[in-house]
Amino acid sequence: MKWFDYAAPRTVAEAAGILASHPGALPLAGGTDLLGQLRSRVRETDLVVDVKRIPELNEISWDAARGLTLGAAVPCYRISAHPVIRRAYPALADVAALIGGVQIQGRASIGGNLCNAAPSADAVPVLIALGAVCLVSGPGASREVRVENFCTAPRRHVLEPGEILVAFQLPPPGPGAGSYYLRFIPRNEMDIAVAGAGVAVTLDDGHIRSARIALASVAPTPLFVEEAGEWLAGKPVEPQSLAAAADLARKAARPITDMRGTAEYRRHLCAVLTRRALEAAIKRAKEERS
């Protein structure tokens, strides 16, 4: 690895100041993506800025009116064990227990998963489905960015130099809510998604009140399939409705062919994973109502 310096600021303002005055400096959260990239020289930097000692980035808090505030650097193991997240945002708890193995989950953060901006990032479809908003701070004013607008291309996102992702804000789920994430990998664990589907639904007596669907690994960025969720709103909970939404997800996908699968196979997976994730989220929503 090329020589770099290391800073561990204790406040958001200090971190933003350091990043703004050192062009090319890189934030470090759990390091499970970044350290491998620096070692293999996919990326280079003169300065690594460790952001996980900043309290706001390491906090999980819950408020019935505002919902969940999840610090960008909170490691996965704390997320999957958190009682409120397990109950109110089950897909988020699932995905935090599915990224890597326990050693990775001891370090890896959801903020790092998003900022790494890989199309295959497993947590990102879940964040989109749950309606998460990024709280971003920098040398200028703080701003909010919806997760579906965060990634712009593989390895590219909307943060300006000097800006860091501080936390995610997730709206409270409301009654009759359920969420689920499902990915396809050839092994049982420790692999990169060939395709993945994150969904969140809310139900009213036998009908779908609202739904949000997002996909992993089938486009240059994590893909929000807004039209599939909108189409489902008001439809009865019936296999035909779910199949039609799954077909919309399949049509929205713009996958490539690579060593993990062909474009055609990935399109097929989009439909299957979306339908199954919807069924599982609906099951959770019914349990929530009963």
């Binding site: 326990v102 050693q103 420790m190």
Partner: protein, 162 residues
């Protein structure tokens, strides 16, 4: 760039240590090359194999994916700290007695990860054990004997606790 080394203070196997390292050195390099603790192994150096597993503030992590400087103020437990007062830990004994190793390269990582599991869950299911050890690769033994060793250690540790 300063090219200046950093002083890190941490606790390793219940002893306070101070070491000077380059910010780019991994915790694994610091343990092995500076502190002389060569029990944690470098297999892949990219987070996939688990041979470098150590316990950092109570959580198993891959020491190749942690910088030495990140360990400032942390508590670290390595394979060298698992046996106490010259006696093997029940997990170590169970691996030996179940013949759950061949070349032994993966074994320090597996034992450290196993100890971390059994410290928090005395009676894990087979599925739980397999998922917990998914980040520890073994190229020789096959995983069945490893699972038996973990179950055997868990049983023994439960008896001692009871």
């Amino acid at each position: 760039m300063t090219h200046r080394k950093t002083l890190v203070r941490a606790t390793v196997n219940q002893e306070s240590v101070e070491f000077l390292c380059e910010p780019r050195q991994s915790l694994l390099e610091c343990l092995r090359d500076i502190l002389g603790l060569t029990g944690a192994k470098e297999g892949c150096n990219d987070g996939n194999c688990g041979a470098c597993t150590v316990i950092l503030d109570g959580r198993p992590v891959n020491a190749c994916l942690v910088l030495g400087v990140e360990a400032e103020g942390c508590e670290i437990e390595t394979i060298e700290g698992i046996a106490r007062a010259g006696a093997l830990h029940p997990v170590q004994r169970a691996y030996l007695e179940s013949a759950a190793l061949q070349c032994g390269f993966c074994t320090p990582g597996l034992i450290v990860a196993t100890k971390a599991l059994l410290d928090q869950e005395p009676n894990p299911s087979e599925e739980r054990i397999r998922m917990w050890l998914a980040n520890n690769l073994c190229r020789c033994t096959g995983y069945d004997k490893v699972i038996r060793a973990v179950q055997r250690a868990a049983e023994e540790m439960r008896e001692v606790r009871a």
